[in-house]
Symmetry: C2
Subunit: 162 residues, 2 copies
């Protein structure tokens, strides 16, 4: 997605920091064969340009939910059509506050996509039974358990809450 000007050096630095943000200037300089002053300047610029937004940690196995599922909720259109927004907003807000809910987004006018992390299938099913099925005004709920992550597998460790 090169909608901003980055050269090969910028990209090399960004890739290294993505894989380990604790690398020192000296280590990066070594790995890419450029002077430390250059690396330092580039990182400073990447931060100033907002290309590096934040430095963060990814949580490991002990805190990572073992069982993930996407849940797609379709909100029924109310008799008073204007209320749809409020229903969607209410459910979105409620879901976001529930334990183990890692990600929540609205999709179109009447759908909500959530990523939920639990320890096993049973815990997920209980969560759905207790927290999702009880929501009134839902027209449809689709549960898509994640059986294998092929790309972006650190997503659970990134989104997991402490």
């Amino acid at each position: 997605m090169p909608n901003t000007q980055l050269d090969d050096l910028d990209r090399a630095i960004l890739r290294l920091l993505k894989s380990d943000a604790r690398l020192t200037i000296a280590e990066i300089s070594n790995k890419i064969g450029k002077p430390e002053s250059t690396v330092h300047f580039r990182i400073k610029k990447l931060q100033e340009r907002g290309i590096i937004d934040k430095y963060t940690i990814i949580l490991g196995e002990p805190l990572k939910p073992k069982y993930l599922a996407f849940i797609i909720l379709e909100v029924g259109r109310p008799i008073i059509e204007d209320f749809l927004d409020r229903y969607v907003e209410y459910i979105t807000k409620t879901l976001s506050a529930l334990p183990g809910v890692l990600f929540v987004a609205k999709s179109g006018a009447d759908k909500i996509i959530a990523l939920v992390g639990k320890n096993d299938k049973e815990e997920l099913m209980n969560f759905i039974e207790d927290n999702i099925k009880s929501i009134p005004t839902l027209r449809n709920v689709v549960v898509l358990p994640v059986s294998e992550i092929r790309k972006g597998e650190d997503i659970a460790g990134f989104l997991a809450e402490v």
Copy 2:
């Protein structure tokens, strides 16, 4: 998800590092009112226990795709049922290599969930037309454009590739 023993101090440190992994021991010590030696020891332990898995960067606006959509692909069951796994594997692999595909996971025996990031709706539609609709053996494709992220909004900057 407290399936491992963490006390309030561990959690406070983890939360601070999640918000800014570049905080120094001195800064963390200051914020939580504990000696630097304690903070140092705790971080060392959190790393050793695998609770902190990695340090990474989140990319900012200039590199973040502006238009996200979840795509759910349902693979048709082939006449020779045993081929289903291979079809799913093939599509999963193909998808993972396409530009702008941020996340790919298998769900159950015959579904694939992908998160795709593009600059606008048109780019997404072209992507689907060129790369998804052309896949044979697909039974159904559902596109769920993300209109508003409520929780986990850094997901695009985390998953974006350089």
